[in-house]
Symmetry: C2
């Protein structure tokens, strides 16, 4: 049992939760909580840490899953130190990043510099529910392996393919889909378009929207009609409305 917060393994985990660059270098990220832990594909598991009190009371299937890879029991104090949540959940896994070289399918989401971790996580969870086949993001989008993003995907991070790119316009074209951008200058209402063919929606940054450079590469600008004095919708709300319109048309 690990009982010291200066243990090298413990320090390593803390760094992994905090540093995007270290996560990228090692190709590993951190997942916390029993529910998320049970959803990790077995082949992606690298190592598991459990607090003493969690290990003594956890369900048998969690123990069985833990034992398939190297695992460590740590004191509750050490665990609380490792966790970045206010209510530590007692189990934390180091997980291998998936490499999705190329997206395939006929329904995509394209994210241009989404910054809020909770937004990205919720968008990914909603994308899975709406039947989106893949998410394309530029490198200025928040890191999907940020622990807050991982948590708020509710497991969708393990199921929805995604790709980061440093050249969004080129990668957008390679999707082979009609690319729509929700934009204040949009011509048609979003629900006047036909999304039954290969379709991609661009969603822009929370405060500045879609950059002009990226919008210029969209095939069509559409608008979500808004009443009242609202100037824009939350990025996650706009994404939800568009994705569920696509799902509605395809049912």
């Amino acid at each position: 049992m690990i009982s010291s917060t200066s243990n090298k393994k413990i320090k390593d985990v803390v760094l992994l939760t905090k540093k995007t660059s270290l996560r990228r270098e090692r190709g590993l990220f951190v997942v916390e909580g029993i529910k998320m832990f049970m959803e990790i594909p077995d082949e992606d598991l690298e190592e598991v840490f459990a607090s003493e009190s969690f290990y003594n009371t956890c369900p048998t299937e969690a123990k069985i899953k833990m034992r398939t890879v190297p695992h460590e029991i740590v004191t509750d104090t050490v665990y609380a130190y490792m966790s970045d949540t206010r209510t530590p959940q007692g189990i934390m896994a180091i997980v291998k990043m998936r490499q999705h070289a190329k997206l395939s399918g006929n329904a995509f989401l394209i994210l241009d510099r989404i910054q809020d971790p909770g937004n990205l996580g919720t968008i990914m969870r909603t994308a899975e529910a709406a039947g989106i086949d893949g998410i394309l993001m530029n490198n200025e989008t928040v890191d999907i392996y940020n622990p807050k993003v991982v948590r708020s995907t509710m497991g969708a991070v393990f199921r929805v393919p995604f790709v980061y790119t440093d050249n969004l316009p080129v990668a957008m074209k390679e999707l082979g889909a009609v690319v729509y951008a929700a934009h204040l200058d949009g011509e048609n209402d979003y629900d006047a378009e036909d999304y039954t063919g290969p379709t991609a929606f661009i969603i822009g940054n929370e405060s500045s929207g879609i950059s002009d450079e990226v919008a210029a590469y969209a095939d069509k600008l559409i608008r979500i009609p808004m009443k009242g004095k609202v100037e824009s919708l939350n990025a996650g709300v706009a994404a939800s409305v568009l994705m569920f319109e696509l799902a509605r048309q395809r049912r």
Copy 2:
């Protein structure tokens, strides 16, 4: 100019930002930021506090609006102490609560114990954009005058009528609308219903959904079809999908 954080007025403002009970007792709440400040209806303004550096550089129209009511300039240090945000915006107003005795119209949202301030704010902002006429909430819903909620409404708090009730089933009936509840036991897909007549949607608590007691008073249970392994949608996402389907049908 106020230069001490132990000034009684300053202490009072801080308490108002923190205590729901005090806000209710006084019928006042706190609004921060220039954008939100300019949207406050003049007749609702009670008092304004500006930081020294904000006051020296702020737009003339903000100064004119400030001077219509009692206002105080405070040192930047005192202002930072008053503000509950990481990047204090330099202007803060004490605002009178509106009393909406009864909701009227033909499109409503009913919230059952929504807990997350950001969720409630975003739902209200989205409701305005979708053309919802009013929001009915039970008392277990987070306080709409919580500073985080106020901020995330982006001004909708001043424009969308809302009512808190301690008897949601009775108040629901009084809306005179067909009440739909998004529910896992829902019979029809949400988009198979007709929302062109008087309509209300119930949205439930983030983790436990709509309570059985409240759901029992709905006229119809509907479902939002979900693909993949997603068990539920975020409350704000579910609300957005339903409200924009109503808006779509009414266009």
